[in-house]
Amino acid sequence: MVLIFAETVNGQFKKTAFEAVTYGAKTAALMGVDCAALVLGPANDAGALGRYGAKRVYQVSDGALANFDAQTYAAVITDAVRQLGARVVILSHSATGKSLLGRLAARLDAGSAPGVNALPDVGGGFRVKKPVFSGKAIAELEITSDIKLVSLMGNALPPEAGGSEASVEALQANVPASRVRVKEVKRVEGIVPLPEAELVVSAGRGMKGPENWGMVEELAEVLGATTACSRPVADAHWRPHHEHVGQTGIAIRPNLYIAIGISGAIQHLAGVNSSKTIVVINKDPEAPFFKAADYGVVGDLFEVVPRLTEAFKRYKAGQ
């Protein structure tokens, strides 16, 4: 059986959960085995995972699962894997999934592949591919243990809804107490978090100062995009640290990445060059970012960005 751990935040499934279920269902079809999803703690409409291909949904309900704790969650998932006889376990390659994958590998004595971006090759073995060296190469890995663990990179394949609701069954599992006491959770409300965003508008030092960010925010708002920034901008406190994308910030792979006034240092590219489409706006035609871009505009961003915002408004009005 292929078992997918479907992540929730405050009882709501994340988009990455639907992606993971889609991936797991396709993997199960390739292997000719069953596919089920596992939900820990409260979840709104768990049966909906069936639409993405889960034949059944198992839910463990316990007050101790309300807050995520890797050690507790890993113990419960291990218990579920053993009870259900799962041979392949799929997680999302999110902060949650990453802190679980290693623990599960150690607990289950299983090989793991973090951050895969394509379906496995199951002809004869179990081989997966993942980008390495900042996207400069793709490694093919073979997992040789009985149980195989995989975490799926966000935005690697679109969630496919089409099936029917799945039945939700309660699963009894041993839930150990957490040794980590959560004191406070501060989430930025009302925006799509960067790792999950499909559209991102990002700006760099070319903006000249934090007072000029209004036009970036307006473009993002018209587009329904999440804002991001380069490292120097975050280091200078022009923008909050959670907006910093790049090697030492957050690595993202949205469908559209619009880079405004960012030269495109290799450390920045390392965090964004898996984006499906990259638009670069820069007045310097020699900016290295143009080499990684799909579309480029050489011009003064203070003129180009408002013009682009107006063009998006006309496009939205015409839809």
Partner: protein, 247 residues
């Protein structure tokens, strides 16, 4: 306070990646190696700050071949007291490395075991979690702030779209993200002192790999950029909709 900092060797980000003529493996000749930045800039420096404040010690741990000694010496130059290298020619899978670290650390009584949040080559983010599991210790990943008082660690950790603040009793395993500390550049005195600090080489324990590398491929080269006139942003919007199909 007794602290262990696990450090890893990675190719520098600017390294050019090429395949060997048979197309199966990476041509690593001429590759410049560095200490993984998350290990060096954040994990090691915060460990040193805590040890300095509490009259503690910081030990570096690396799993790898003798070539890694240059990177270990750099960590000693930055300020670690001593170092241990578990002598493995090719460290193989994350699980194997984590087992080496756990088997070494198990009976040493460390209060804190640091990792970087991930290596910049494979971005797996696995070894810390695995080692914590083998050691049956709590693990806090993506720490961007850490204070220790009275045997309790207070950690701010990065989560998607925000920050979570947690408290954990020591001993504890954690992984360091940006913000945990400010990078330290080794000075001449540190570099000289590093030469005489102990670097112990120990033999590995028996452990499974469970994951092997089949080979590598290079990604398809990106087609060259399509430049648009700065006056005509309607054309860019049209291309994003009709050609790229992202809006």
């Amino acid at each position: 306070m007794k602290i262990l900092v696990c450090v890893s060797k990675t190719p520098d980000t600017t390294t050019k990646i090429a395949l060997t003529p048979d197309g199966k493996s990476l041509d690593m000749s001429g590759v410049q190696y560095i200490m993984n930045p998350y290990d060096e800039w954040y994990a090691l420096v915060r460990a040193l700050e805590l040890a300095e404040a509490a009259n503690g010690t910081v030990t570096l741990l690396n799993v790898g071949p003798a070539d890694n000694d240059a990177i270990i010496r750099k960590g000693l130059a930055i300020g670690a007291n001593d170092a241990v290298r578990i002598d493995v020619a090719d460290p193989g899978s994350s699980l194997y490395v984590a087992r080496q670290i756990a088997d070494y650390a198990r009976d040493k009584g460390y209060d804190l075991i640091f990792f970087g949040k991930e290596t910049i080559d494979y971005n797996g983010s696995e070894v810390g979690a695995m080692a914590a599991e083998y050691l049956d210790l709590p693990y806090v990943s993506y720490a961007s702030q850490l204070d220790v008082a009275g045997g309790v660690a207070t950690v701010a950790r990065d989560i998607e779209g925000g920050v979570e603040v947690v408290e954990v009793d020591l001993p504890l395993v954690l992984s360091a993200a940006k913000g945990l500390a400010e990078q330290r550049i080794p000075n001449m005195r540190g570099i000289m002192m590093a030469k005489s600090k102990p670097l112990t080489v120990v033999a590995p324990s028996a452990a499974p790999n469970h994951v092997g590398t089949v080979g590598y491929t290079l990604p398809q080269a990106k087609s060259s950029v399509k430049l648009l006139a700065p006056e005509d942003m309607d054309e860019l919007v049209r291309l994003l909709h009709e050609e790229a199909k992202v809006i």
